[in-house]
Amino acid sequence: MATLTLTGVKKAFGATQVLHGVDLAVADGEMVVIVGASGCGKSTLLRIVAGLETPSEGQVRIDGRDVTPLEPADRDIAMVFQNYALYPHMTVFDNMAYGLKIRGLPKPEIRRRVEEGAALLGIQELLARKPRQLSGGQRQRVAMGRAIVREPKLFLFDEPLSNLDAKLRVQMRAEIRRLQKRLGVTSLFVTHDQVEAMTLGDRLVVMHQGHAVQVASPMEIWSRPANTYVAGFIGSPAMNFLPAVLVDGGGAARLAGGGAPIRFVDGPRAGGEGRAVTLGIRPEHLEVGGPDALPVVVDLVEPLGSESVLHGRLADDTALVARLPGAAALTEGMRLAIAPEALHVFDAATGARIDPAGG
């Protein structure tokens, strides 16, 4: 159990700058999920925490102690790998006991810990088997078990669920979360899957091109995304982005495609008349009909049972996706209205969120 602090962590491979200075503070017992598209530097960041990569600049502290120059062995951490990385020539028992043997624990203590860990994960029957005799889900459990028995200060997860099939992934996801809460171990979890990130993390770190774009709780990120990248990345289907300009002294916006101005319910935005902005609206915040509704040409309906996803286009050819409850029929001349209280305003040039002035 420990805290983890990253300060100004940078990493360059040759001329390629992979991380541009990441700061992060993880509280004791907290589960932080690092999420981002592939190539955003999230795995590199995790490997720097593990000690498998050395940062070009910056510091990694575990429990206040600077571990930046230390070997992985000296950091008291455990890691679960994407391909599990079990020792193929050892039995499950030996796989789990390996780290304990190296630390020179007495044999009865090793046996006790491994059996406890195996019971916790429901793999007692597998202890005598070799990894190649196990299914994907079982290997995943063994990899978790190997991490748990070490009783480390920090758990690191490197996309551990991406090799499992969809059903097992959901099941293991819940199991990891339950286990982490029960053991109360500080954890860092890397994933590219935003659903995994939302459900697992106490807090999320959304990474984009080597920057930690936003660090906040899942709901905060969902309701107040820091920029258009985060807004588009978190939430499924992704948020709609509509180009617009501010009118009425910043109190409303008019879509580039025309139509009545949309009034902001939470207050005017700075910048005044004519500032180019991007309006963001999540598919679930669109509804059929209403006085200021926009005409939409629907070209595809995806029925999902409890809801339907509509893909359509506005008059100026901007794509628009809506999530409507129940079975929606494909109708001619459909009109969709934006719920003004759910509107996000971003700067058109930088993509940064614009909050109401003074509020």
């Binding site: 593990a50 000690g51 498998l52 070997e71 992985p72 062995a73 951490i77 455990a78 890691m79 790998f81 994407q82 391909n83 990385a85 079990l86 020792y87 193929p88 020539h89 390996y98 780290g99 190296i102 630390r103 190997r146 070490r150």
Partner: protein, 293 residues
Amino acid sequence: MIKRVIFKGQLLPLLLLAPQLAVTAVFFLWPAGQAIYQSLLQEDPFGLRREFVGTENFDAVLNDPLWLNALGNTAVFSVSVAALALGVALLLAVQADKAIRGANLYKTMLIWPYAVAPAVAAVLWLFLFHPSIGLIGRALNAAGVAWDYKLNGGQAMLLVIVASAWKQVSYNFIFFLAGLQSIPRSVLEAAAIDGARPFRRFWTVVFPLLSPTSFFLLVVNLVYAFFDTFGVIHALTGGGPGNATETLIYKVYVDGVQNLNLGASAAQSVILMVLVVGLTMVQFRFVERRVHY
């Protein structure tokens, strides 16, 4: 998983196997049969007269102190060659597996000795270690070390061992390197995180995962040391001084080709064949059990 093809007739499968069977018959079964046949005969040097003597040749060989000496030499020689060739190759492969500058050049250079013919390799070592014309040999003597493998049996044995092992290192190196590169990096990283230092990581993770490769190479190296080192010994020491470097295969040649004692030579080659077959069987039986595939 295994795709089995079933032939209806017998002719086609036989026809497909024929080339391989023919090669085996001409180059192994026939000479081996000849050797067994001859080992039961006593023949004069000119091949004019032969007589069936039963196991007399075997009795004579097994009670010959010179043959027993060759057996001892072979044991020392093969174990040393295999150990040296495997050890050095593993060390070099571990180094070459690291990300180092010029790794490709280094690998190419290491593979070269395998392309050198045994006799040429022997001459190369001769030019290095000959006491009066060899570079290193002269230097050693100048430095006060009494180096003369032409007179000192121990030094002669050392030289043929090193020369034979040197030729085999390349072959072992390629296999070890391939074996090392097939070990997933994440497994080694997991071991590092589990607290294993490089030395421990090597012995508890890398080496066990290399064991199929090592086992295969052990068999190949022993067979090499038993049979394929004739050229090196012949060109470097000719089995001497005295009989210090005379191995079983070299004695077969000396007795059969030089002394024209065909019966004894044939009996020796049969014994040698049985020895190697037995040794390989023992290896598969006992060593393979400890191998993790």
